[in-house]
Symmetry: C2
Subunit: 564 residues, 2 copies
């Protein structure tokens, strides 16, 4: 190892929290070996270059070792390592696939936002009074209130003594009793079956049947999961193997939710991009699917097609026709379909409606419903619940080969079971208070209020952003995000490039430093070359959202002026 | 695909739950291509052969497709597949590393036990009235009661309205307030930081410091996890890569907890076995570590050494000297140490004491404490808590390369965060009621009662098993399991082998069918060739444990008689 070695901290997680001797920057993307400027310059400059390929921003790395590796004069390797022996596990010797993983939603800009919050708390003077985080779909953190009924049942399940408490409604108690009776030893603390609690899976199947107009769902096809992410990664694991020249390709939309790219990187699979059509409200054209697939077939073996509907980060809601087209395409091209439907209750735009892939598949008749392999994911984290912290979710698998299903059951058994409180919560989501039950009215009221509020904020976001010259925002038909396109002047692009930053990261970092608003650059999700976007959640409370939008408006105006 | 193809269902998860047309058996281990007898025979025989390599038992597979693949005369492939197209995802085309995964703790014998329970519930006559499951360390399922204080705080956190309820003790309320204040939006439903809630990590560090006699712990070195399993798999992921000829080797004890072998199989790493010394109460000799390592170095690159202390499945508690020896060995041989310490409160035997690897490492002085890379795992699932369903846990990393630590932080961010209720519970475990607080006495009483009960059952298990001719059981010094050695007569071994079963699986399956007792064969954990064991938890309530032990005693006597 030499002192001339280029620092190799991955952009996303590069904020090193351990103690160290000097503050320095590092954001070079190792595999490609890019790093702007000589080491000393990078070390000293607060806006030093970072990787052009991975949407990284400069981030601080507090580490004596890193310092020596960057050739700081007073701390050379030999001195530093006189006593300490070389590590077993280093960036050089660690699993190379992990290094390729990126996850922008919690990337460098968010780490910087957290720093700014701490600085504000310490009284450091900033041009803003608070950091507003619109980077992640974390509803409760933004002030959304949980559904009372859900929390009552969870409290009852956690501490069953409360079943004797007269203040809890009877329907909450009966739900809690049913859940506890289906737990080992009547306790949330027992492991459940690895596939999930039987009674919960039955309720999920009933929910799907109701949702899909009577099309049956089999509880044996339901797997409860640790959030939807867990199910998605598990299914990708089954599908891909990266050991030979015919590597598995998985088609994902661009823009995408970066869990997909992260999981594929880790699994050593090929990410096959198909582009959503921004001009058509982020719609999906089959011709683009075909183009993407045909190109991919030249160098890998595409086997699966992932769809997010309603869309993340793009907020579109697919029409029934579009879903049919996708299914037909998957059938024709023999692709395994993965439908990420965690925003199924988040539909706001007039004329839009959520259609599940399962329902459309079955309405297309046995030629499709007997053949197309489909998995659909849902979660407790989004919709009107926003219960991200509980990590609840389920997936329904359709037409999975029974032998593969046995392998799936085996695979999930190694992790024992999904968190049982999350399973209980999933049960409540699929089996909420019914008309006539004591909690029904308040449940309905709370649910409607949350969804109406989100709908209003979706509209507001689109409207305000579209008043800004240089920003254009498609309708936020569903989900929780806007993904507006921003015009970045040539001069700004040049400045960003000179600093080794992607232009949209440069833009968002500047926005954060000047206004305290935390958004995620479009490059973290993927976008057509030469276009720039950011993802912004619609979750802040209306008053804060208005402030946020006004600040973005003002910032964009000034930014454009400054670089024109 | 041909009708002559050998069925390839992996033993562990082979019970196919989907609808199908015929009942058949399948347990062949594909990679090795072993399967006893011609297909038709295997299909029809209830005790048909299974894999000799993977401790599988015959398990029922309900699948029309499987039937055709096994060459059943009336259901050939062509007929069956006239309409359905071939699947995208089949056993042939799925990720091959997943197929190699085995997890005996939830393997075929447990699936059969669940079937038996259903049969009993349906009124089917059996030679026993109930199934007693001693296969898994699932304390609450076996009737152990949760700690009242923990559950009160969880209820308060779930439904903060209860903070106004006068019946809850003040210390429970103040804990709940502290946890909620450290959650986004004061809600368990918000995502936490990916590394875990700051306040919880601080409490964990304080706990470690107290436990280890003042040796400091840095909250930045604490990662909260989804049970200990999650942490173990995450660290193995960083450590291993299986793409070239110098594949990573990871040393694990034999017998082992099969999460390790499962994770290594999935990651494509080499499992390097070192044997615990059964004659010395499952002690660990450095000479055996050396032998194992030297052999492994001929064909792979061993980089990590995993230790489970107190032992699972073997119940030994390592002496301080032994831990020092292991650390010295790891330092000398440059191995990354992984210490699975989830049973740290489960120490029963006189003269035994839990010593953490961290503490011993630091007491050995800077030559070791500045150098040896160590990660230690803990969990809410074991000890006196037994809260498996919450999937809480933490890991502490020592001397991890800062750049690798950044990669670790990035990696865990992709899954957003561990379940927040599990984090809250972990916080209570490391920060329980203190002397002077209102809940202290009852907490202490409950904790002591549970641990004393476990100690008594550990003693009882050892004593009764050692009265049985042909069974010898090492002292259950700690953890939750006995792992007695059983003598299986030659005639029984032959009958098992003829049926394609491992002798200890044959034994355990017969025990289950005749007595309703569910244990896990030793082969699921690994054992020296020619020796046989089973793992049995000490968790059933004392009255049931006595029945269980008497039944095992009687069964073993009859089994020995029958096959002598």
């Amino acid at each position: 190892m030499s002192a001339r070695r280029i620092p190799m901290i991955s952009s996303t997680g590069a904020r090193l929290l351990s103690t160290g001797r000097s503050e320095l920057f590092s954001g070079a993307h190792r595999a490609e070996g890019r790093a702007g400027g000589p080491p000393a310059q990078r070390v000293r400059s607060l806006t030093s270059p970072a990787c052009l390929l991975c949407s990284s921003s400069p981030v601080r790395a507090l580490s004596g070792l890193s310092a020596t590796r960057q050739g700081l004069p007073k701390e050379n390797m030999a001195e530093n390592r006189a006593t300490p022996r070389a590590k077993v596990l280093t960036l050089d010797t660690m699993n190379p696939t992990i290094k390729k993983v990126e996850y922008a939603v919690r990337g460098p800009i968010v780490l910087r936002a957290m720093e700014l919050e701490k600085e504000l708390a310490q009284g450091v003077k900033k041009p803003f009074a608070e950091v507003i985080k619109a980077n992640i779909g974390d509803a409760h953190a933004m002030g959304q209130q949980p559904i009372t009924f859900f929390r009552q049942v969870l409290a009852l399940c956690s501490y069953p003594e409360l079943l004797n408490d007269g203040t809890f409604p009877e329907d909450a108690k009966s739900r809690a009793r049913r859940i506890l009776q289906s737990c080992g030893g009547n306790s949330l603390g027992a492991y459940s079956a690895s596939q999930g609690i039987d009674a919960v899976r039955q309720d999920v199947a009933q929910y799907i049947k109701r949702r899909d107009g009577g099309i049956p769902s089999n509880p044996e096809d339901i797997y409860l999961t640790t959030g939807a992410s867990d199910g998605i990664v598990t299914m990708l694991k089954l599908l891909v193997h990266g050991e030979d020249a015919t590597r598995t390709g998985v088609m994902i939309s661009i823009p995408q939710y970066p869990l997909y790219s992260a999981a594929l990187a880790e699994l050593g699979a090929v990410q096959v991009n198909y582009y959503l059509n921004e001009e058509k409200s982020w719609g999906l054209d089959n011709s683009e699917l075909q183009r993407s697939l045909d190109e991919a077939r030249r160098h890998c073996n595409p086997r699966a097609l992932c769809i997010i509907n309603p869309g993340n980060p793009t907020g579109q809601v697919q029409s029934r026709q579009c879903i049919e087209d996708v299914i037909r395409f998957a059938a024709k091209e023999r692709l395994f379909l993965m439908a990420d439907e965690v925003y199924q209750d988040n539909v706001y735009a007039d004329g839009c409606q959520f259609h599940s892939f399962k329902k459309v598949l079955f309405e297309m008749g046995p030629e499709y419903s007997d053949n197309v392999e489909l998995v659909s994911f849902h979660s407790t984290s989004k919709c009107y619940m926003g219960e991200c912290g509980f990590r609840g979710g389920y997936m329904e698998i359709i037409n999975l080969d029974p032998e593969v299903k046995a392998q799936l059951t085996k695979l999930v058994s190694v992790r024992l079971c999904p968190p049982v409180p999350g399973q209980a919560l999933m049960d409540l989501v699929v089996n909420p208070p019914q008309p006539g039950e004591p909690s029904h009215d308040s449940f309905k009221k709370e649910r409607t209020a949350t969804l109406s509020d989100l709908a209003a904020k979706a509209k507001l976001t689109e409207q305000v952003l579209n008043t800004v010259p240089g920003i254009s925002c498609n309708p936020v038909q569903g989900a929780m995000y806007s993904f507006p396109r921003i015009t970045i002047p040539e001069k700004a692009i040049k400045e960003a490039t000179d600093k080794g930053q992607l232009p949209d990261m440069f833009y968002c970092m500047k926005l954060l430093e000047e206004t305290g608003i935390c958004l995620v650059p479009g490059s973290g999700f993927g976008q057509r070359d030469g276009t720039y976007h950011f993802r912004m959640t619609i979750l802040p409370p209306t008053d804060k959202l208005k402030i946020l939008l006004d600040k973005v408006k003002e910032f964009h105006r000034e930014f454009t002026e400054q670089y024109s």
